[in-house]
Every structure is written in structure tokens, then in C-alpha cells.
Symmetry: C2
Subunit: 329 residues, 2 copies
């Protein structure tokens, strides 16, 4: 039974955090490790901002802003309005409440603590049960080679509103990095029973995690099933610029492309029910398909999709066991 | 005429900033240099806080909080309430609007700019006419030797609410420091016509400035008159722990003690009208006395006291000229 084992989930920001919240609600605390993309991290006004870690932190603590889809609830904007009044760089919107995390994180890092240590401290302070861990304690920066030059992720995403045409995505400093200690521990966890790739942007949010040396091989070589949940429904992306970037990179905007992209890394794929006609094509890749409603509007939706994802993991786990028994007989 | 020359004023925080504002209103912009005590500066949550520079900045920009006497107007406290909720160190109160300055300053210092450069940038951003300059670009820390051990200034002042009994005041790192470039420039300004010591705490706010090597000698040896304005009225201090500290150090809580403390450094002393009976004793020190209403409640009060201070400087300047003429004849 996978639900009695440990689950490792890879996630980007808002989209992935929805499923992460669902998983955190149906799995016992302590049996879930959430690895966050840190390729979007950047320095702003001298502070270290880790957008995807914070999206996970806020979503799991139930303090995320439901109406904007990003940032904190009960937010105020006095700091930002003062920066604007003084003519200080204010292109990235930091709420006053949100600032508490950025100041505390930056202070911890400056004092010599690792991003893992600072993040663990924050999850405790926010009363979050599951481990939220950075993919690496090294700085890896997602860069977009665009028609208008090479742009760091936040410049592309926030300042330029994803307008420049993307030609290539690079993960600066990835080759010299290592997975964070808790990520490594989860990958080698003796009770590990499944790996979930959340419905995040495969190219911008999951690939940075896979770019950390050893991670893709460890997942591919894992004895436990790996399941990805589609971020694409009916040729569109629920959240963010995934569809636009896929088109610019010459990739068909389809869940099939996502399944192909993960390829041998995954054993199972959760497809949206609206895309069920594509199930056969995904299956032809040697990937087991589960069709589910992947659009998560409510907390119930998140838990339901988490259950369907876990069900697919269990199915794959049982199949493996049967195959193993057959081999041993 | 002193008002046609350049005025250098030394100031601590809130009390001194009142007279500084008065001076800034009656003197042409560009003819006033305000030197701020930075002995109270400290690191908090990884940010560099310069309380006296900010008190001057906010007072002169007209954006200080009139009701609390410290901090910013139109302030909100979301950042602080979030720190508290998370159980993060929150003993020093930083408003959301105030934070803009601390984050910007810290960012500038981390990028390698000096405190002088960062402060000049801030005065420009706040639209403040007079130069506000730190006493030094070196870190000098005011330490209080108390009955309960040695305490950094903010620990004593904010965290311990000035309760421990003070035995000695030390200025850590002063011996190795130098005055800031703009302070040096003002001391040697060819049009310098007077030096004002604002009604700040002599021991905690002015002495740190005088502890910077060369400063006391330059003021004492200056060819221009030096006038101090009393921070003590009728045995009490208008603002802060001056009276308490004087008592603990075995000093009579009297403007006479302040005049004696400055001694040969000053030529003139502005005494409160309520303390006029002490005028003779101050005069006996060889110091010219001007009695004025030194309690500044309104902007008018600030300007009136600034005018009285300038009048005393002019009187001393004219006397010097007459003495000089007599010597030359």
C-alpha cells in the first residue's frame, strides 16, 4: 500500500501547490516531502525571494491569497506604496505581510544558514506538517533565451509579463549543484512508495528540479512508481505561460507532449477527463493513464485529484508487485 | 552676518530633530549641514537601522509621526504583526512604511555604498533640502555599562526601556573611526559661520559624535562660534532618558551640568527661560547665555528657537569681529 509509505512530490508554484495541498490533506503528516523549484529564486532589494517555496508554504498553511492566486491573505501594501513614492525600484510586488518571510529568510541566509534550514524553520513557524524542501541549497537560476535577449525568470515572468518569444530555457549553475539533503533523503527513503510530479510547468518549474545532477537518474532508477499530473487541459494551461512557451518552442500544446517530455521518467500520467481521447496515445508511450477532473477550484477538488493520483500510484505499485512475484516464481 | 554663511548642526534623534527642522525652515537650503549621531545604529533582522538619521529625515520631510513622536506618519503594522504571529523576534517596532527606508539602506550598504552615499540618496528621495550626514561611515556603537551588564544602546533603550542603572557610556570602535566626508567638509567650510549643538542627550547623542577622532578638536579650534541648546528644563528632560542617566552617573540634573559638560567646546548656551536664575552660573564658565523658550510643541516654536539660536551665534560672531578688530588696531 503506497498510502502507508512515503510520498515525494515535485512542485513549482501556484498550480503545483494546489495538488500539494490536496496531498497534504489526505496523507498523514510526516509521510509527504514536497520538493520546490528554486530556479525562480532571485534577489530583490537585497532580499532573497523564493516564490515557489512561499507558494507551497502559504497554500499548505491556508494563508494564501485566494483572490489573486499568489501572495498572502489579509495583505497590505504600505511598503510598496512608499517605495513607489520614493521612486525606488518597485516592479516586483511584495506585500507587507509577505515581507516578514523574505526578511526572515534573507537574515537566516546572511547568518550562514542554508535555504533548507531556513525553509524548515519557516514550515515549523507556519505550522505546516509536510516537509517543504528546496530542490537544492545551491543557487540555480532559470534563464530564458528570448527573441529579445537572455532574461532571468522574474524579468521575463513579472517585468516583461511573459511577452518575449522564448527560444530556449537554461538552468544556470545547475551542473555544479547538488540536491538538498532532505531531497536526497526522500529519494532514498526506505519507505518511499511513490513519486508525484505536480501539475506545474514542465519546462519552467519541473525541469529545473530535474536539472540538478543525479535527480533525473534517481527518479528514473527508482523502484517506486512515478506519476505526473497534466498541467495542460484541452490545449490550454490552467495557470501561467506553459501553453505560450510550448508553442514558441515548437511543441504541440497537448498533454501528450507533456507525457512525451517526461517519457521514461514516469510510469503513470493523470490526464484530464476532457482529454480522454488522448489516453490511447499516452498509453502507447508505455505510460499507464488515469483520467480525472484535473481542474482544482475548491479544496475538495484538490483532495479528489490527490486521491486519484494516489490511486494511480497504488495501481502501479500493485502491478509492480505482481510482476515481481511472477519473476520470482 | 552668520545667516549668510554655512551652519553646521550636531543632532541626535527626535529632540534634536525639532530644532533641526526649525533651522531648516529659517536658513536657505544648501547653507545647513546636519550631522546625525550613528552610535545608536544597529542590525535588526539583518537590516541596518539608523534611528537618528531617520528621525532627521522624517522630521525635515514633514513625514514623521506627530502623535508617537517617532517613526512615520500614515504607518501600518502588518509586517510586525506577521513577525509576532510567526514567533519571530519583534522587539523593535518597524512600521511597513518605515521598512522602505531600512530595506533600501541595507541594500545600498550591501552593494558597497557608504552610509553617507545612501543617506544623501535618501535625502534626495525625500525631497529634503539640507544635507543630512552621518557622523562617520565607520560603525561606532554606543554601549552602556549598566548594573546588569554591558548593553548595546537599543537593547538598553528599547528592549530594557532604559531601566538598568547606567554606570558608564562607551563608544565602541570610535578610536578607529573617521568623520564622514561631508562632516569634514562642513567643519572646514570656507563660509562656515556657526556650529549648533541641538538639544539632544549630551551623553548618548552628542558625545558619540564628539568621540570621532578629530571632531572635538576641530570644533574647539574653530574660528566660528559654537552654541549648544539645553535639553534640560527645570531639572527634567523634554524627551528620553537624559535626566535618569545624569542622575545615575552622579551628575546634577541641571542645564548647568550640560554647559559644564560641553565646557570649552562651546561659546554660547541657550538656556530655558524657566531656568534663567542659572544664567549667571553658566556665564561664570565663560559661556555667553541666551534665555529662550526651549520647549518646542509647534512648528512655530521650532522656528522661534532656531531664530534665537541663530541670534546668539550672530551676537558671538560680531563680538569676535570686534575683538579681532581691536587686536588688529
Amino acid at each position: 500500500m503506497t498510502t502507508s509509505g512515503h510520498i515525494l512530490a515535485l512542485s513549482g508554484g501556484v498550480g503545483g501547490a494546489k495538488l500539494a495541498l490536496g496531498l497534504s490533506r489526505i496523507l498523514p503528516s510526516g509521510q509527504l516531502t514536497l520538493v520546490a523549484n528554486t530556479g525562480d529564486d532571485f534577489e530583490y532589494l537585497g532580499m532573497r525571494i523564493s516564490p515557489d517555496i512561499d507558494s507551497l508554504l502559504y497554500a499548505l498553511a491556508g494563508v494564501n491569497n485566494q483572490s489573486t492566486g499568489w501572495g498572502r491573505d489579509s495583505e497590505t501594501w504600505t511598503f510598496m506604496s512608499e517605495l513607489e513614492r520614493l521612486g525606488i525600484d518597485s516592479w516586483f510586488r511584495l506585500g507587507d505581510r509577505d515581507l516578514a518571510v523574505h526578511v526572515h529568510r534573507t537574515n537566516g541566509l546572511r547568518a550562514g544558514r542554508t535555504l533548507s534550514e531556513v525553509t524548515e524553520d519557516l514550515t515549523r513557524k507556519f505550522g505546516v506538517g509536510p516537509n517543504i524542501v528546496p530542490m537544492s541549497d545551491h543557487r540555480i537560476s532559470t534563464l530564458l533565451q528570448t527573441a529579445e535577449g537572455c532574461l532571468p525568470f522574474q524579468d521575463y515572468f513579472v517585468r516583461r509579463r511573459c511577452q518575449p518569444v522564448v527560444r530556449e530555457i537554461l538552468f544556470e549553475n545547475a551542473a555544479a549543484s547538488r540536491p538538498s539533503p532532505a531531497f536526497l533523503k526522500a529519494l532514498g527513503h526506505p519507505q518511499l512508495s511513490g513519486i508525484v510530479i505536480c501539475p506545474s510547468n514542465p519546462y519552467l518549474s519541473i525541469d529545473p528540479i530535474l536539472s540538478v545532477p543525479g535527480v533525473a537518474d534517481a527518479i528514473r532508477g527508482s523502484r517506486v512508481p512515478v506519476v505526473a499530473v497534466t498541467p495542460i487541459v484541452q490545449g490550454r494551461c490552467i495557470k501561467g505561460p506553459t501553453a505560450k512557451i510550448m508553442a514558441e518552442l515548437g511543441i504541440a500544446v497537448s498533454p501528450l507532449s507533456v507525457a512525451e517530455h517526461y517519457g521514461s521518467l514516469i510510469d503513470g500520467f493523470v490526464l484530464d477527463i476532457l482529454d480522454e481521447p488522448l489516453a490511447e496515445a499516452v498509453s502507447a508511450l508505455g505510460i499507464t493513464v488515469e483520467a480525472a477532473d484535473t481542474i482544482m477550484k475548491t479544496l475538495d477538488d484538490r483532495q479528489r485529484l490527490a486521491r486519484r493520483t494516489m490511486a494511480l500510484l497504488e495501481r502501479l505499485f500493485e502491478t509492480d508487485r505482481r510482476v515481481l512475484s511472477a519473476v520470482q516464481e
